[in-house]
């Protein structure tokens, strides 16, 4: 067993216990997990896309993931994120095996933290996480709210996702770039 597998085993156990204590509320409590790393990277950026890009650059440069892609749609609230080759895929796979809906994406926590800390976003909420171990790919849907007035601005995210894919609105950052 390599060191990363060992760490993922530990985190998976922690998240399993945490889910047992808090059920679907567990994900609301884990949003600080990962912020120490990203806060140490002095992420800069004047706008949303710059912040997200620079977060993904820092994440891929450190080897936490091979590739990160993002697109924003749905009244600027839907942040769709794809992470390939994440070092935490092992813990997500273990949780899925144990019948637990994945609830804590450390990469998403980092990006949300920087939107809030650097651009003063009102709040952000990780709405869904889908991990596919075979493809080594996670897709995360996050609701990001620049201001309080953005709360309640709704759209059909399945339609928004279809449009993102159709128009290829993805911005991609790779570790080797």
């Amino acid at each position: 067993m390599d060191r990363m597998s060992y760490c993922n085993d530990l985190i998976a156990r922690m998240e399993e216990l945490f889910f047992h204590e808090l059920s679907d509320c567990a994900g609301w409590k884990t949003e600080f997990i990962g912020i120490d790393f990203i806060q140490s990277k002095q992420i800069a950026g004047d706008n949303r896309d710059e912040i997200i890009r620079n977060c993904l650059k820092a994440i891929t440069a450190a080897g936490l993931a091979e590739e990160g892609s993002f697109a924003v749609a749905g009244e600027d609230i839907l942040l769709r994120l794809k992470v390939k080759g994440c070092i935490h895929m092992g813990k997500e796979a273990r949780l899925k095996d144990r019948g637990i809906n994945i609830y804590n994406c450390i990469i998403a926590n980092m990006i949300n933290d920087q939107l809030i800390e650097k651009l003063n976003y009102e709040t952000a909420y990780v709405a869904s996480i889908d991990a596919e171990e075979e493809q080594d790919l996670c897709e995360i849907k996050i609701a990001i709210y620049e201001t309080m007035e953005k709360i309640g601005c709704v759209s059909d995210w399945s339609e928004e996702c279809r449009r993102i894919d159709e128009n290829n609105e993805w911005q991609t950052i790779r570790a080797d770039e």
Partner: protein, 239 residues
Amino acid sequence: MGDILEVISGRKSIRRYKPDPVPDEMIDKILESARWAPTGENYQPWRFIVVRDQETRNKIGDLAKVGSGSRMTAWYCLGHMQERFEAIEDPEKRAKVLRFMYSGEVSEFAKTAPVVIAVLGSLELGSVDVPYDLSAAVENMLLEAHSLGLGGCWVHGPVASSRDAVKFKKILNIPTEMSAYKVIAYIAIGWALEKRKHPRPKIPLEELVYWEEFGKTTRPKLPLDELVYYEEFGKKEKE
């Protein structure tokens, strides 16, 4: 001793309040009821902050609105909220209810409740059972408020996420270290402005209760030899 079931089953969550103040004696009784809640090893880790200041309640109301609204907006966009309310047949009414939910307005009522009581527990005093002790205290307060003719509501939304919990603590000057205090909820108290449909549908006991082990829905019958006497009370043996 009187049966408290009538008070328990008559209680309902109230989210709309008259502006009339709640007398201090009533607030004291509500707090006193909390003090008598069960608590592991009698640690009594609970602390309460009574908030009547309008500006502070506005901040709490906004935080609750953002907390609930940010989650429900996302759930609506994913189509989950619509499923939850599909029982409402009138499309206009359903849309209105949904908007009330995903806008976060559903949780904003700390602004209009004359009294808000934040419920927090010391993690240094009673680190074994804090959330459970505090929950018992909250229920006592809600029942006492109801028995006094007041309305109340248990609100977890603004402290549900870790980041919001820190904001909530800052509003009330509660130490923000994770090791110090845990805020589990606040309760809103006041004179009810609304008459809610009551009772709300409850799952029948038969679907909630198992006997002797998980999944066993039939109440076990006592064996005959424990029920039947012969010739006179207490005589178990046939002659």
